[in-house]
């Protein structure tokens, strides 16, 4: 089954749309799509008021649904929230909280993602071809656990607080990450191909690979060895910490630089 949603022109396109119903499960009942509603600001709208809906075929399970979202999608929030299966393809940018609490399935984003992509994710895969904003694959403010499972891959850069409170799963950033990636992380794997700043503060467990330079490296990590790894092979420093938090996390770093 393939569902294509194309945004219609809106009177005020900057008002965010709370679109937590844009998940494969919502389209299993073919007549149900007409009755779905989303909130545009403080107004409740029918899905067909905001989108042209085009449906091909049918599906028994979420896994058989492919949902394509097209057009001016940068203000859509919470797309893919709690989804359990199937595939969502976003052809442009996506708004905040995409894929939060998702359990399974795949979200592909062709453009950039706003903050909180894959927040508190439990399983499944998210791939973002552009950049991701702050709090990529993180926990929610005040929560003690972040992403617990699944894979998030960003091909561009990521913002600050990437993989904050990471508690499982794998996060890969192909570009640079911002300030404080892996802060408070407890388990799971974080890979940053580029540079970042002040990595892994208060980390208690898990593994982090940073293939670029860590600026303002925190002094509360103890260097425990070196290893040649990567492609092409290069020497990496191995750190453990965060000692200030009696942490037992491990960081593999290509280059690092303390705050002078």
């Amino acid at each position: 089954m393939k569902v294509v949603l194309t945004t219609k022109p809106r009177k005020n396109p900057r008002i965010p749309v709370e679109a937590e119903l844009l998940i494969p499960e919502s389209f299993l009942d073919p007549s149900g799509a007409e009755e779905l509603t989303v909130w545009e600001g403080n107004r409740e709208r029918g899905l067909s008021d905001l989108f042209d809906i085009h449906v091909e075929g049918g599906a028994e399970k979420a896994e058989e649904v492919q949902l394509v979202v097209r057009g001016d999608t940068g203000t859509l929030k919470r797309v893919g929230e709690r989804m359990t299966g199937g595939r969502i393809l976003i052809e442009g940018d996506i708004g905040m909280h995409c894929g939060n609490l998702m359990k399974g399935g795949t979200i592909e984003i062709a453009g950039n993602a706003d903050a909180w992509l894959g927040r508190e994710m439990l399983g499944g895969e998210i791939r973002c071809r552009g950049n991701a904003n702050h709090y990529l694959a993180s926990g929610y403010r005040g929560e003690k656990f972040g992403m617990k499972g699944g894979v998030v891959e960003v091909f561009g850069n990521a913002g600050d607080y990437t993989a904050e409170y990471l508690s499982g799963g794998k996060v890969i950033v192909h570009g640079n990450a911002g300030d404080l990636p892996g802060i408070e992380m407890a388990a799971g794997t974080l890979v940053i191909m580029g540079d970042c700043r002040r990595a892994c503060g208060n980390m208690t467990g898990g593994e982090v690979y940073i293939h670029g330079t860590v600026h303002q490296m925190l002094p509360t990590f103890r260097k425990v060895g070196e290893k040649v790894m990567g492609e092409p092979p290069a020497p990496y420093s191995i750190f453990t910490g965060d000692i200030a938090n009696r942490g037992k996390g491990t960081i593999f770093i290509r280059n690092y630089q303390y705050l002078l």
């Binding site: 929610y140 403010r141 005040g142 929560e143 003690k144």
Partner: protein
Amino acid sequence: MAELLVKNACVIDPLQGIEGDIMDIAIRDGRIVESVRNGAEVIDAQGFLTMPGGIDSHTHICGTKVNFGRYMSPEDMRAGRTVKRGKMHATSGYSVPTTYGNSYRYSVMGYTTVLEGAMAPLEARHTHEEFSATPLQDTMANTLFDGNWPVMEAVKEGDLKRVAAIVAWILEAVKGFAIKLTNPGGTEAWGWGKNVECIRDTVPYFGVTPAEIILSLVKANEMLRLPHSVHLHCNRLGIPGNYSCTIGTFDLIPDLNRNRQSLYATHVQFHSYGGSSWPDINSKAEPVAYAVNRKPQIVIDMGQMMFGKTTTMTADGPMEFNLYRLYHNKWSNHDVELETTSGIIPVLYRRKNLVNCVMWSIGLELALLVKNPWQCLLSTDNPNGAPFVKYPEIIALLMSRPYREKEFATLHPHTGSRVLLPSIDRELDWNEIAVMTRAGQSRALGIDRIGKGHLRAGAEADIAIYPLRIGDTDPSREYEKVIGAFRKTMWTIKRGRVVARDGEILVEGKNATIWVRPTVPEPYRMEQDPDFVRNFERYYTVRMSNYPVQHHYIPRNICIETEAVL
């Protein structure tokens, strides 16, 4: 003229001495009157239990601290969600719900007046703003003076009149209701990374002791003729062996007022621990209750702890730090300039935990061992001991020994050797419960004079009608029925209007804030005192002219004016 007649109500009104008489209550324009004309709207109470609206004399529902509790606990905000329905706003949260959540849940339980237990004067605006979004209860705010620099300086100089004058200026400026002391002296010591052990320790720099602060403010309170007494959270909260500090504090207090107590000691459950460390903690409710029994000048509230998740929040910063070291969970800590501190951590009270089981027993023991119910009021120090939605269960526990035994059987097996609850036979009656949930509060807060907590002609028409006939109910055996009835009123009437009916909120509502304005003689006006003004401008981050809360923050209010005798 809006008129309402409540017919066939089985009234319990301790302040009037009515114990279960069937009578009619006439209401006109929000007040109780002798009679109304034919044609008034009629509610047939069918002999159901009818009491004045409930009053909570110590709860934390509005202000910066509560709001930070919401902010740091998304897991709490994810519980207890209700959607917008009719006149009801959407709500969320369990132990620290949204303001509307608090207001609706209190109203459904028949509560019409609440007192916010701790408002930092500097942050009063936030409290008043949240009060105006707590529409179904009249509200008051205890104002914190525990670590107030000018007050401590005046105490050091032994100038009681100046203490009173400073209190008067601040209370009027922040639209507060009463003097609250939270770990007096200890909150200032916390600014130095320290705490005070008990009432005889000195506060760093200021060189005063908690005993001096408490006694000075108790006396100043009477000089200002405030409606309520000093509202004290004793030193050493939550530390095994603290009962002796609590009793020592009670021994300080002279009997200064004929109409009410001279000291209101709050959440005394947290202050009645024996032993020397957590492993040997035991209940010292008996000596504490004995001290209360022979001192009519003291009123306490239980601060009952109930099992489950909640959030602890208090101005007692050092105590919260100790808790944080026990739990290693989230912790918030805050310093309020010249005034006080605060701390917040979420907790889970468990039946498997011996300390928690002892705490649970102590609260009940206090309520059962204090002979006069006017001296021990029902509270959980919401949300510190438990969210206030647990009140019906506490009422049932106090009224039913079998229910206590049933609950006790589920506790940690060693609890029995640490507490005396199993040996207490007392079961409270309906009248005593009415005292502990409304009449006692009304008298202790001194708001019986403005028509709260009773149904005399002229009183505010705040009435709760519970779906229970006291004649057909044996609370000892039918405790489930008691819990069910106190959870949900049939009608809650606020200011002469039905605001809640069978758990549904019917109106938007609008609160009134009760505050005091003590008038002091000309030489004691602090805004003209050069020392006070200079230090204010020097140490605060706000200008003195920006400090007072403007009147538009309390659009509907009841001002209690007093004439100070200095």
